[in-house]
Symmetry: C2
Subunit: 319 residues, 2 copies
């Protein structure tokens, strides 16, 4: 299967990602095999409020890269709402129509793995996409929760999409995401209020700049009207500039090292949690403890440390 | 300190919650002492999109309970955005003005604990509030991310606040939250489009009802205009009915048992993660592994299981 993924076979790619998404038997082996060939793509994260026009923007970006003869993988990560489901699906179907193009693969992700969460599943899917030789991997998600911040951390270049005319209250992007933005896009820039959004971001930036080192990247601001294709060329140029900047002086490697630092700890957390589930405590045991705690016959703040101490031994410096 | 918390001393309460929030030395002991006196309050979760008017609604509810001579604790959990910070703070200050009322305590939570995440910190704060004898604990949060779903799971009664006039795209509430709603509130119900929101929720409900058992609670829908105090009486009545229903046939106990089942596993996860940090791997080690993975000299999918197996021993049935 991995051989066919590497050859860019879209069906093998789809099956491999499904395997990973379902955490099915063999998933780890596939990932391990893919990892050897991963790491060469530029990962571009696109995030912003619901309704900011991210899908259209990603669509335009992908198209532009295909015109440049670059291969593209798109992961649309959707923390589903029953209300938005329809709209997002519609967009996806439009994009999927280009599936006949062998240089492009589009996938939406919603299932969160049993233990690892959506961010890890997305990261694993990126590994598979990279093994298939995609040069650009676009990761699209709404920037509203901690999951989404974690997803965005995958990216080498993070684009935060803002829109004019949404009240302060509705432009509900996590603080953590504003901070990791590499490029700001003001989409629907033909609407009233674009200047106000720009001003707000500039104010935030100048505040942040006081604390930043001299050779740091200053996030540029690009105005787009994605539905009309306006500003896409400028956005592509901004991404190219960022890519160039990252390639100098080992910056990309440093970023990815930082990413792996967090990811390895997260993978350990999941591996340990798996141990808890597999070897630690049966559902019946947990149920029994839950009943006792509910009846206040057990104090969870004492119970849990006791259980962990009883069941798991840490071998200090144990190699 | 716990004695003074129990006496309802607001300053002791504030200090105890800060201790828990900072995961400071002594936090576990305070929680353990508080736990003995916790569990008697009705926990009411209020969630919805940003801008749905949750703060005002919570404010009105709290005020109504105080009129009924019930003591109230309010936790406003804020997954902060730099754009919304100001507005939320403003609301909080208004509420804090009533801090002179000894029967009411208001607190906003934003810091996520080092390891446990915002949901656990919130749960711990609820334990402290309950120990102080509050009869109603209101937990307010926006319903957009996984963190927020986890926070809402704390509640005995979950209120989901919707508003007319926000596009499908903006009413970005997690599917998981719609499913655990016990009461729907259509706030700003004097606005155009209230009927449409109502119809959408009813459609979703009738779909869900097909799969539900006969004695299940059917979430009622309450229309409010919180700023004008309209519908608050009806909402309080709906909460009272739900409380009554929960009190029959051990339903409340069953709900809380289910909650504790998940919470205990989560507490174990955190306890294990703490072991990883304290005894498992030094930052320097993690840094070294991250560098190797970044250079593709190590495969993380093989590295992590190996490290876990080397360092942690599971004692099967080890009691």
């Amino acid at each position: 299967m991995v051989e066919r993924v590497r050859a860019g076979d879209a069906r093998a790619l789809a099956r491999a990602i499904s395997l990973v998404e379902d955490d099915a038997p063999g998933a780890v082996e596939v990932l391990s095999a893919c990892f050897r060939y991963a790491g060469d793509a530029l990962r571009i994260g696109v995030t912003g409020s619901p309704g900011a026009g991210k899908s259209t923007l990603v669509d335009r970006l992908a198209r532009r890269y295909r015109e440049r003869e670059e291969t593209v993988g798109v992961l649309a990560v959707d923390p589903t709402s029953p209300f938005t489901g329809g709209a997002i699906l519609g967009d996806r179907i439009r994009m999927a129509e280009r599936l006949s193009d062998a240089g492009m693969y589009v996938r939406s992700m919603a299932t969160r793995g049993a233990l690892g969460g959506l961010a890890q599943t997305t990261a694993d899917a990126v590994t598979v996409l990279e093994a298939s030789g995609k040069q650009k991997v676009l990761i699209e998600t709404v920037g509203v929760g901690q999951d989404e911040v974690d997803i965005v951390r995958l990216a080498d270049v993070t684009i935060v999409v803002l829109v004019p005319g949404m009240g302060d209250d509705v432009q509900s992007i996590k603080a953590g995401i504003m901070e990791i933005a590499d490029i700001f896009v003001i989409n629907k820039a033909d609407r009233e209020g674009a200047e106000r959004v720009e001003k707000e971001v500039r104010a935030m930036q100048s505040l942040a700049m006081k604390h930043s080192a001299e050779d740091e990247w200053v996030p540029p601001m690009v105005k787009t009207v994605a539905t009309a294709g306006q500003g896409i060329e400028e956005l592509v140029a901004a991404i190219d500039r960022m890519h160039e900047w990252l390639s100098e002086g080992g910056r990309l490697a440093a970023r990815r090292r930082r990413y792996w630092r967090e990811r390895i700890v997260e993978m350990m957390r999941v591996a340990l949690l798996r141990e808890v589930h597999q070897h630690g405590f049966s559902p019946a045991e947990i149920e029994e403890y839950a009943a006792k705690v509910e009846q206040r016959r057990e104090d969870p703040y004492k119970l849990v440390p006791r259980l962990i101490a009883e069941r798991f031994a840490v071998m200090e410096e144990g190699r």
